[in-house]
């Protein structure tokens, strides 16, 4: 049977190649996703900074109970700002038998200006040195508030040779101070952690902003201590404070939270996108195999008549597909590895994953992807083979093998149900608010595309009928023939319609959605930023900076802005959303959030302001109490005092300083927005003095913030656009495959037309008319689906009724479709038309 399948494959090389191309591209994409997922799953960073600690105690995630549809579920979410642990817990753990060191570790971003360079370092209290461990190689540990021990890497940075006793300036916690180098320390193990420096524990606590809280507690066991017993004891103490114990590999993950987030992102991205692609591959392969089966109906009928049982025919088709899928795995896996390499590089360059994030594995992915591909292909083959059961052996006797023009009733019903679901979702979607509306809009997109796929044969048939007069009017007799062909091939072209509707529907909505969000964010930033200047600093700005800025003559208003995240409940779960912390004094003259209800001036005490999107998601009206969590997991209940529109640019939640202080990693502002009288040169000069008072800071024009935002947004949109591009490209490939197969199978039909007197020119016009009909229908339906989705999402996100579609977008959709038509049908048909008709008519079916 395998041999027979192989022989049949070689005879029908065209359709075999089409299936192979579709499968190989699928394997390539799946392999790439597989390696990303595998890398994410295998990512176990070795502990470096905390290499010597046996146990770490930290609070990095939050688990809450939610109730949905009467069922209680627990949801765990990573805390956006990392959470903190009480320092006195370290003292209690230190009392336990078997614990040698229990150090509360604080990590403070610092900048050390050395030889005109700004060296970045992370400062800690001295007791954390034991966690790496760092050992003194020269000098002593810091003993007083103005002493610091520095890493050898820092001591030798930029060609300097710092020695104990040297004075160095250190910029930390928003201000610059002079310190005496008390000693030089070095790590016992290598690693790529940033350079370290150590203050006294008390000074580090003072600098951190919340002296009684620390990022984590590191524990070093005494020699010979019973590790399990101590861990249990520590766990008991930790549980009392509501924090968690981490041992083994988890320690490394705790250290590199950014890399860990990247790993999680890779797993989610790869799994979700891989799932879509696997579904798409199944659909495409079922389509090409279905077409191949249709094209050799007579062969199969003959096989059925003389020898083969229905099971054997099915087995033969499945064997063909299995053979192709094995070949595709052999070709696709190396291609996938190559592509992954490129994607990995791009992800690092664009900052989606930290530099040096390792790609791991490949063997497991290759095996899994190959197995999945064979499975998907065989399933697709079985779906296509279902049709062969309906082939009656008597068809072998007839002159022509005509496929019965009936499509399954089940498919019609399923399609109508999906269509009904889509319409219902659309109506509900307009009534929904906030995030629920976004969810409904995306669900709508999927349901509409699904219903178009299911109803494709009927859509084609009715479109052919409806377009008949149009085609006749434009193309004359050729149009008449074209309409007839469209009607006759309604079933065969269902794959083309589906693939194009999918491309246009998904591409048109998700791709343009990115453009709309980018555009709106930039517009909001531009319109909402009243301040002309911003004082920014890499190490943060203390509250005094705002006060100082207000003292500068010519300054009308100044307000400090801190970017953070809070956790809000969303549809039965929780998710982090961007928030800003502001100083409400003068905020209305530095920022215009476009407040629609309430006033930012009321942002005092237990109060919060929210974007209209977030307020409607929470179902909160002005004056309501809103319950959510701050970035460190602290639950808060705040009164909604203002609702504003410009949430995309400024964050969906606005807190005032009093609420957030102590719950962000530092109590420092990221920037101070400063409004001056227009054209006030004196104010600008005064602000230059301000910059000198806060070393490490800089004064920028707020216009640059908008430009920077545009770049950042384009960066983060890149991944979405890449994924959607791949998906659209794959769907277009599927359409192309089907159309080429269909075009090349028409030799006999076209020859017959020419023999009965239709001129080559008329044949070409007929093909053009068919393409115009088929692709026009696809564009129309896909475009309608995209438009409905885009309008609902954009309306929810920005409040605009009419979404923005870049001119290049229109051009690429229409141009791409036209190109597809030319390459896949017009060119093959022209090739067919170059052979004299008598040659083709003799060719056996």
């Amino acid at each position: 049977m395998l041999m027979l399948a192989l022989r049949m494959l070689r005879h029908r090389i065209g359709s075999a190649v089409a299936t192979l191309v579709a499968l190989t591209c699928g394997v390539m994409i799946l392999m790439s996703m597989g390696v990303l997922v595998e890398s994410g799953m295998r990512f176990t960073p070795a502990p470096q900074r905390y290499a010597a600690a046996d146990i770490l105690v930290a609070d990095r995630d939050m688990t809450i109970e939610t109730t949905e549809f009467g069922e209680t579920a627990t949801v765990t979410v990573d805390l956006p700002t990392g959470g903190s642990v009480p320092v006195d817990l370290a003292d209690r753990i230190g009392q336990l038998p078997g614990v040698a060191v229990a150090a509360a570790d604080r990590s403070i971003q610092a900048v050390v200006p050395i030889q005109d360079t700004a060296q970045e370092a992370v400062a800690h209290g001295w007791s954390s040195a034991a966690l790496t461990p760092y050992r003194i190689v020269d000098g002593n540990r810091p003993a007083t508030t103005d002493e610091v021990a520095i890493d050898t890497r820092l001591a030798t940075a930029a060609g300097a040779q710092l020695r104990p006793g040297d004075q160095i300036p250190v910029l930390a916690a928003g201000s610059e101070r002079q310190y005496r180098v008390s000693g030089i320390v070095d790590r016992t193990a290598a690693g790529d952690t940033p350079a370290a420096m150590f203050f006294t524990d008390d000074h580090a606590a003072a600098l951190s902003g919340s002296p009684d809280r620390a990022g984590l507690i590191g524990i070093v066991l005494a020699p010979g201590a019973d590790s399990a017993a101590v861990t249990d004891e520590v766990g008991r103490l930790a549980a009392e404070s509501g924090v968690t114990v981490h041992t083994g590999d988890e320690r490394g993950k705790l250290e590199q939270s950014e890399a860990l987030a990247a790993a999680t992102m890779l797993i989610q991205l790869g799994a979700v996108f891989g799932g879509y692609v696997a579904g798409l591959v199944m659909f495409v392969v079922a389509g090409t195999i279905g077409l191949a089966v249709r094209h050799r109906r007579r062969d199969l009928a003959l096989l059925r008549a003389v020898a083969a049982t229905p099971g054997q025919v099915r087995l033969m088709i499945v064997a063909e597909v299995a053979q192709l899928s094995i070949v595709s795995a052999v070709l696709g896996v190396p291609a996938g590895l190559w592509v992954t390499d490129w994607v990995h590089g791009q992800l690092m360059t664009r900052g989606f994953i930290p530099d040096g994030f390792p790609l791991a594995g490949g063997v497991l992915s290759a095996v899994a992807v190959s197995a999945a591909t064979v499975l998907v292909a065989v399933t697709a083959g079985l779906i296509a083979a279902r049709r062969t059961v309906k082939i009656r052996p008597t068809e072998a006797l007839g002159e022509v093998a005509v496929e019965p023009a009936r499509s399954s009733r089940v498919r019609l019903v399923a399609g109508l149900i999906a269509l009904g679901g889509g319409v219902t979702l659309t109506m509900f979607g307009t009534a929904l608010r906030g995030e629920a509306a976004l969810g409904a809009a995306l669900g709508m997109l999927f349901v509409f595309v699904l219903s178009a796929a299911l109803l494709a044969p009927w859509i084609n048939r009715y479109a052919a009928q409806a377009l008949g007069p149009v085609l006749r009017a434009v193309w004359g007799d050729s149009g008449y023939l074209a309409a007839a062909n469209l009607r006759a091939n309604a079933r065969g072209m269902a794959t083309v319609l589906t693939a194009l509707v999918l491309s246009v529907g998904f591409g048109g909505s998700i791709w343009f959605l990115q453009d709309n969000l980018e555009r709106e964010s930039i517009a909001q930033t531009r319109d909402g930023m009243l301040a002309q200047h911003a004082l920014v600093s890499a190490v943060g700005l203390p509250a005094t900076a705002v006060a100082d800025a207000r003292q500068v003559p010519g300054v009308v208003a100044a307000t400090g802005i801190r970017r953070t995240s809070v956790i809000v409940p969303v549809m039965g779960g929780v998710e982090p959303v961007a928030a800003q912390v502001i100083d409400p004094d003068g905020a209305d003259r530095a920022l215009d959030l476009s407040v629609t209800e309430g006033s930012l001036a009321d942002l005092r005490g237990d109060a919060v302001a929210m974007s209209s999107l977030q307020a409607s998601t929470q179902g909160a009206d002005l004056g309501d109490q809103v319950e959510f969590w701050l970035g460190d997991g602290t639950p808060v209940s705040l009164r909604l005092v203002a609702v504003y529109e410009r949430g995309l640019a400024f964050g969906d939640v606005t807190l005032h300083r009093g609420t957030a202080d102590g719950h962000t990693p530092t109590n420092l502002d990221d920037q101070v927005l400063i409004s001056t009288e227009p054209g006030d040169a004196e104010a600008v000069a005064g602000l230059a003095g301000l910059v000198e008072r806060y070393p490490g800071s800089g004064l920028i024009d707020t216009g640059i913030i908008g430009a920077q935002l545009a770049t950042d947004l384009a960066l983060s949109a890149w991944l979405n656009k890449l994924l959607i591009g791949v998906m659209v490209g794959y769907a277009a490939l599927a359409a192309a495959n089907t159309m080429i197969m269909a075009a090349l199978a028409r030799g006999r039909e076209l020859a017959l037309l020419r023999l009965v007197g239709v001129t080559t020119r008329q044949v070409k016009r007929m093909v053009h008319a068919e393409q115009a009909g088929l692709l026009g229908t696809s564009l129309l339906i896909g475009g309608a689906i995209a438009a409905v989705t885009l309008v609902s999402v954009v309306r929810t996100m920005t409040g605009h009724l009419i979404p923005y579609v870049p001119p290049l977008g229109w051009i690429s959709i229409i141009g791409g479709t036209t190109l597809l038509a030319l390459v896949t049908t017009v060119a093959p048909i022209s090739a067919l038309l170059r052979t004299p008709p008598v040659h083709s008519i003799g060719v056996k079916e």
Partner: protein
């Protein structure tokens, strides 16, 4: 009006009250309206009749390619109407041979593979001596590795006959086997079928509209409107032609009245 030709043994094929209706409701077309017939071993029967007389339907239902609306079909001691599609296929490939008008062969396979196809799919061990005999008899010994596309129409039909013989079936059904051939090639193919009956005691049932082709048979059965209207020992090509012509005139008269 049944006529017995050949030795009075068990019939190779027997149809009882065979009826076949296409479609349903007022548009239903009756192709066969209760046909009874027996076809004995070692005989060659030509089934004739005007277009739409039901002769092809008789062949398809008797050969197990299509299912009757009612009535029974016996191939030897096996009744077909209750068999599953898979069992029916197995029966077809082991006990029935087919020769169609055209497109008889799988283009992807060469002559030898086409001949071996039913054997291969049934998983039976090929009988090399028999296959050599079959190939020799149809005269294709030097063409075994050609593709069907490289053969003439007559050669293709001879390959189809060899394939039909390969399984030593109880009966061979032919549907206009010479319909697409010129006179001389057709004569060769018909002579081959005749020799299969005479030399191997095979049973052949052939649908044809050509009186000359029918003259190679032992017995001629004429259908009209889904019923047997003549069943006679082969009376010679001219007689057959007259019978058909008479039948055609009668139809015209019925239509006009």
């Amino acid at each position: 009006m049944s006529v017995r030709v050949g030795p009075p043994a068990d019939p190779a094929v027997r149809v009882i009250q065979l009826a076949r209706t296409y479609g349903s409701g007022p548009q239903a077309v009756t192709a066969l309206a209760g046909v009874d017939a027996e076809f004995h071993r070692g005989t060659f029967t030509a089934v004739m009749g005007p277009s739409g007389s039901g002769k092809s339907t008789l062949l398809q239902t008797a050969a197990g390619l299509d299912r009757p609306s009612s009535g029974q079909v016996w191939i030897g001691d096996q009744e077909l109407s209750r068999l599953s599609e898979t069992k029916l296929t197995k029966l077809r490939r082991s006990r029935i041979g087919f020769v169609f008008q055209a497109f008889n062969l799988i283009g992807a396979l060469n002559v030898e593979e086409n001949i071996h196809l039913p054997l291969r799919l049934s998983g039976a061990r090929p009988d090399a001596t028999w296959l050599r005999q079959v190939v020799d008899r149809v005269g294709l010994g030097d063409r075994l590795h050609h593709r069907p596309a490289e053969l003439s129409g007559g050669q293709q039909q001879r390959v189809a006959i060899a394939r039909a013989l390969a399984m030593r079936p109880e009966v061979i059904f032919c549907d206009e086997p010479t319909g697409a051939l010129d006179t001389q090639t057709a004569a060769d193919v018909l002579a081959l079928l005749r020799s299969v009956v005479d030399e191997s005691q095979q049973t052949v049932i052939m649908v044809t509209h050509d009186p000359v082709a029918a003259s190679y048979a032992d017995r001629v059965m004429v259908l009209a409107d889904g019923r047997i209207v003549r069943d006679m020992p082969q009376p010679g090509a001219e007689q057959i032609a007259e019978q058909l012509a008479w039948l055609g005139r009668r139809q015209l008269v019925t239509q006009e009245s």
